[in-house]
Structure formats: structure tokens, C-alpha cells
């Protein structure tokens, strides 16, 4: 392999990790408050919801799908859980179940559109995104849902239960609950994709669907499974977000689509895998969290954050797609 090929290969494998380490070092040197246990928990807490949603998007991408409805699903679940407790005075556990059911509903629509009606994934999930953003507005008449709101002239009967709020604000051995959920889910998705036959089948479909079909894999079923897992993860993200907010804000889920897709795509570039993977998605989510946290500490204006995230995404896409080609040719020529 040529020196240039080797360099490209190394950049493809370790480039993103080196950049992340460099950022951590820079922020720590410039702002000593950055490198503290407390701040680490803040960063983790800030990326937990994005990370949970992104892990689901990662699974949907393994089959060659793409779940653009994840953000709308988060928003819908925030509204559903808020309505369940505030307006219908249900228990926290019932609100969690209602939220997960809403996630399954979103996934069901995606499956109907992509697997049954054979609409291309990108446009199908785009349609689902619009549908559920709109639906969340309709059921709440475009209003935020919070304790004490008026329903038909009378104050709403319920409020967020303490148990439910613990999901967003509580801690387990000083670690915030959303961070624990994120970590457990990351391990679960990592095992699913990397170490089970179902994960192998999902990747096979993404790599060559016809080869997978002729190897006896039921392609439609696995594509549906990808969307179901994605919908459930987005619902879990929505539950955590709702618990943290303590109210059902209109449009609360909107930023989560771009950030979670970015985290999953950045993850392609980790260790040169060039495919969706749980470890990469975790790194991608952390990357976004570190950059935003560090920039805030450096007093960078908040309105520059989106641009920096965009630059991060574009850079890692070049790393995984542009450099990967050189690397792959280098490997086959050996």
C-alpha cells in the first residue's frame, strides 16, 4: 500500500477519535472547569436524549433505511405523555406505556409506507414526520400542555407525577437517569447489531438485499424490525425529554432529528467501519455534546452552534465516504 493510501486509511480509522481527543484537551487547557466530573455529567446529560434517539436511527440505517420521522416521534411522545398525565390524570407508568405505544404507531406508519407500499425510505419517513408533527398540534390545539392549563374552561385535573419526573431529573449513584438509560441502550444496540444473528441479517440487507433474500433472510420483516426499534428508541427519547421538561412543549422534538441523524452519520467514521454502528453513534453524540458544551464555556454565541454541528457532520462524512474509497482500494491491492 502506498504511503498516501496508508495515511488515508489511518485518517479514516482514527481521524475522528484524534479530533475528539484534541478538542477535549484544548477545552480543558483553556477552561479548567471543563475537565471536571460535574461538567462531564452535564455533557452526558445534554447528549443522552439525542443519543437514545440516534441509536434507534442507527438501527433503521443498517438495512439501508433512513428514519426521518424520529424527531417528530420524539415531539409526539412528549405531547402524548404530557396529555396522559396532565389532562387525563393517569399515572406515570401509564404515561410511559402511552408514549411507547405512540412510538409504535409512528413505526407502524413507516412500515406501512416503506415495506408494504414500497415508498422510498427517505420520502416515506419525511411524510410520516409531517403527519405526526401535525397530529401533535391537532390533539393539543396547538397549545403547550402544562399543569394548571385550562381544558374546556376548567383547570386540567392532573400534573406530572414525581416518579415520571425522576426519569428526567433523578440520579442513580450521582449519575443522571437519562445517562444511565443511554448507556444501557448503547450496550443493548451494540450487542444486537454486532453479536446477534438479527444484527447480522440487518447488515446483510443493507449490504446487498438480494444476496440476503437468497440466503433465506426475510427482508421485509427485518426492514420492519429496523423501523420498530427506531420508533421505540425515539419514544424512549421523548419520554426522557418530557420528564426533563416537565411539560409538553409544542415543537420540543424538532431539533432531535438533525442532531440524531448527525450523530449516527458521524458514527460511520469511527474506526473506519463505514456503516451504522452503536459505538460510532455514541461517539458521534458525545462529539456534538462536547463541541456545544465547550463552545458555551468559551462564550461562543449560541446561534453559531448549528453551523458548527453542520461543519462537524460534513467533515466526518468526507472522512467516512471520501477517504474510505482510498482505504478500501489500498486493502484489496495488498
Amino acid at each position: 500500500m502506498s504511503a498516501a493510501g496508508r495515511a488515508g486509511d489511518a485518517a479514516n480509522r482514527y481521524g475522528l477519535l484524534v479530533v475528539l481527543a484534541g478538542l477535549l484537551l484544548t477545552f480543558s487547557l483553556v477552561r479548567p472547569a471543563f475537565a471536571t466530573y460535574g461538567n462531564a455529567l452535564i455533557v452526558l446529560q445534554s447528549v443522552a436524549v439525542v443519543g437514545v434517539v440516534a441509536l434507534g436511527v442507527t438501527v433503521s440505517m443498517t438495512t439501508g433505511g433512513f428514519d426521518l420521522s424520529a424527531g417528530a416521534c420524539v415531539g409526539t411522545v412528549v405531547m402524548v405523555t404530557a396529555l396522559a398525565m396532565v389532562r387525563y390524570n393517569l399515572t406515570g407508568a401509564s404515561a410511559v406505556v402511552a408514549g411507547l405505544l405512540a412510538g409504535l404507531l409512528v413505526a407502524g406508519v413507516n412500515v406501512l409506507l416503506t415495506v408494504v407500499a414500497r415508498v422510498p425510505d427517505l420520502v416515506a419517513t419525511l411524510g410520516t414526520m409531517f403527519l405526526f408533527q401535525g397530529l401533535a398540534l391537532i390533539v393539543t390545539s396547538g397549545q403547550s400542555v402544562a399543569a394548571g392549563m385550562t381544558v374546556d374552561g376548567a383547570p386540567a385535573p392532573g400534573r406530572y407525577t414525581e416518579g415520571f419526573a425522576w426519569l428526567g431529573g433523578g440520579t442513580i449513584a450521582s449519575v443522571p437517569v437519562p445517562v444511565v438509560v443511554f448507556a444501557l441502550l448503547a450496550v443493548a444496540v451494540h450487542v444486537l447489531l454486532g453479536h446477534t444473528r438479527w444484527g447480522r441479517a440487518l447488515y446483510a440487507i443493507g449490504g446487498n438485499a438480494e444476496a440476503a433474500r437468497l440466503a433465506g433472510i426475510r427482508v421485509a420483516r427485518y426492514r420492519a424490525l429496523g423501523y420498530v426499534i427506531s420508533g421505540l428508541c425515539a419514544a424512549l427519547g421523548g419520554i426522557l425529554l418530557s420528564a426533563r421538561l416537565g411539560r409538553g412543549d409544542v415543537g420540543a422534538g424538532d431539533p432531535y432529528l438533525l442532531q440524531s441523524v448527525a450523530a449516527a452519520l458521524i458514527g460511520f467514521a469511527v474506526l473506519g467501519t463505514n456503516r451504522p454502528n452503536a459505538l460510532g453513534t455514541v461517539v458521534g453524540a458525545l462529539f456534538i455534546g462536547v463541541v456545544i458544551n465547550g463552545m458555551t464555556m468559551l462564550n461562543a454565541p449560541y446561534y453559531a452552534q448549528t453551523f458548527v454541528q453542520g461543519a462537524l457532520l460534513v467533515g466526518s462524512l468526507v472522512m467516512s465516504f471520501g477517504l474510505a474509497r482510498g482505504g478500501r482500494e489500498g486493502r484489496t491491492s495488498r
Binding site: H195, R200, A201, A204, N208, A211, L214
Partner: protein
Amino acid sequence: MTVLSVSEVSKTYGATRALRGVSLDLAPGEVLGLIGANGAGKSTLIKVLSGATRASSGSVRLAGRPFEPSGPLDAQAAGVQTVHQNIDDGVVPGMTVAENLTLDGFGRGGSGWFVTRGRIRERARPVAADAGLLADLDAPVESLSPSGRQRVVIARALSRAPKVLILDEPTSTLSAAEADALLPRVRELAGDGVAVLYVSHRLSEIEALCDRVVVLRDGRARRTFTAPVDRHAVVAAMLGDLVPDTSTTGKAVDTSESVLTASGVTARPGGAPFDLRVRPGEILGVTGLVGSGKTELLEQFFGARPLLSGTLTLGGAPYRPKDPGAAIKAGVALVAEERAARAVVPGWSLRAHVSLPRLGAHTVAGVLSRRAERSSAEEVVRLLAVRTSGVEAAIETLSGGNQQKVVVGRWLTGSPRLLLLDEPFRGVDVGARADLGRVLRGRADGLAVLVASSDPEEVLELADRILVLHEGSLAGELRAADATAERLTGLMAGTPAREPS
């Protein structure tokens, strides 16, 4: 007089020599047939002439001047028009017939900024009239039948006043009646002075239409026939000298029972139903020209496409797989043709390819066991002498023959009852082919094999018994010992004793 003169043209792709010094001449008003088996070099020759690729050596002259097109547009401008096999690559759906006929104008300068229906119709009318196209100019092009769409494509090609018209398998997507209607059209075009290069797999068309026929085999122009064409000789030239390998015929086959019994099955729509049996330990060959229905037949047995007619039994029990997964469970395996598109997952290791069809057998307590996967992969490597740096090597690093050993061998580790092989030796070197043949013939576990190939030599080499398909129907059945080159080519051409009109 010659309008197109090809001399000593060669084309190599890496180590593959697709064309090896092909020469042919084409005169105005002539219809020249070009025929050859898969991989004979037809497509490469068309690519060179249509400007899609450049010859590695040799020269082409058009009307006396050197012809070295830099791309398809350049070739068109010089007067060589190509109508490709897939009609729908040539029309733009959603546009009207008139718009499709005048597409060329849009891409060039001088057509003005604005296009109106009226102007398009005005320009399309003479194009349609010249080509004898009767379709409604305002109809959406997708409302036309396949042959109607093809006429639009041909009309557009003719509007560029071609010196040479290349028709690449023009009837492959047409019904029989539509194909019959096309042939006189082609004759008329030639009558107007156009030189036509007619590429087809269908012998009856070549026979009915062409003034001369050039047969390609292994990248060389083997023979040129002048009308009237002797079908049998054409097929013999296409397939080369057949040397039956008598070493295959000694195997003992248990004739009392059968693994697969098919009754009343149909190879492809329009073919006549027939029966078929494969016995334990037997290798049954299925041969026939391209389009004879071999692939379709095998895929029906594997559940990869719905059974057209008839019933199947496997090991005595009724068998009707609803998908490949069900077929695999029942003990049936398929190695599909076109390995790269239908078996290889890019970037995956040899190990992952081996375990893919039987992931469940490599799982311990729900988790895939790398060790089990590796031992299966190593078994395949040992069994078929796969040349690789190891089982973790990416499949792309293996040669075509070794990749094929992997996709065949992965089924053998699961001990199937019936192995279906579709064109298993295409793009496979002689050594790998011999290894595969040795292993398949050497099985002692009663595995039944059904091997389909359009190359009768491959079938003769491997099979105990040979079925010949012709245009979707069973043309004959031979024991390998009785199979001769003569008889096989006759059956494949559909000629023996019953000459179709």
C-alpha cells in the same frame, strides 16, 4: 462497398480479454447478424462501436475515415446509432411521444429558450412520418406498448440520419407478435440504405432477417455465415467443439427414489409444462440458450419466484416454498447466477459469507459465535481448496473462482438435500472449475444437484443426465453417455426433425 469496417479490434479489462482481434465489414443496405453465447464479446463490441468505451488496439473505419468516438454523443454525430436492449432506458416517462421524439433538440443550442407543445409537435411530425410511426404524438410515452416505445426509440435514432444502426437484442422485451412485426421494419430500413448490425440470441430471427451472420466466441469472430443460414452450424460455432468427458458417467445413481419430483412445471410463461426428477446422488444438468428459462426454473424450485404451474415433492413430501427461507429449511440451496449482484455482500469477510445462510446454526444462546463461524469457514476453505489469506479476508480480495468456491461451499457445510447451481462457472477459472466439479461429484451423502448452464460443455463435464430447454419448453433429455455435441446443439437450436417456420 463498405460503410463500417472493423479490423483487428481488441479490448482488455485488466486481465480479461473481452475482444481478441475481431474484424468485420458492414455494407449499406445490409443486415448483419451478430450472435454469441454469454461472455463471447458482443456487448463489448457494441460498446466500442457506440462510443461507450475505446478499443485497446485495432481500428474502426466509418465511410473510409477513422472512427474513434470519444463518447456516445460523438458516435451518434458521426452516424452510428445504437438502440439498446432495455427500451425504457431510451424513453423518458412522463413525457409525450412528441417530446420523446424531439429530445435531442433540448440538449443542444439553437432550440430557443421556450418550448411549446405546438413547436414540439411540429418538429416531431416529420420524425414520426419518416419512421412510419403511427402513434398519437400527444400520448404519454408510457401509455404505449413495449413495441410502441421501441418504435419511438428507433424513430429518434433514425431522425439523426444514421449510416449504421445497431440494434442490441431488440426483441428481448417484446412479445412474439411484436417481434414478428419488428423484423419487416428492420428490412425496410436496410432497404433505405442503412447498414444494420442486428444482435440477438434468437436464432429464428437471425435466420429470417440477416444477410450474413458473424459468430463470436471467446472474444473472436469465429465464423461468418451467408444467408440462408444453417442454424445447426451457427450453434456449433457459438459453442465450440464439444468433447464429452466420459469420466463423469461412472457414478452409481440410485434410481429407485427421487429427491425432487416436479410434475407439470413451466420454465417461463408461455412454455409447455413438463416433468422432472432428480435422484439422490445424481447431478442433473439443464442447458439451453439464453432466455430458454433455466434461471426461472431453478428460482421456482427455491421459492425465489412463484411456482408458475404444477406441483413439487421433495423427498416424497409435498413441497411448495413460499420464500427462499422456507426452501433452505426444507434442505434446498441455490447458488444464483451473477455472483457479484446476488451473493456477495461488499466488504464482508469470507467467514460472514459462509455463515449468512445459516445464521441460526452459528448461534449460541442468541449470540453469534465467531468460533462456530470460523470453523465453518475453515471447513469450506479446506473442502474446496479456497486460496485466501484467511477466513477474515474481505471477499473482494479473492479471485472470482475462489469467491465462487465460497458461495457454493457455504451450502455444502449445511448438508442440503438438493443443491441448485445457476451458471456456476461463469467468470470462474479452469482450476476452480475443476475443484468444484471434483467436490460435487465426490459427494457420497446422496446430495442431488441440479446444474444449469448455457454452456453445454460445462454440463457435459459435470452431469449424469442432461435436460435441454428451448424457449421455455423441454426440448429433450439425454443421458450423459449418449450426449454428443451434435445432439445437444441440435436440441438447443430447436431444430431436430421439426423445423419451425
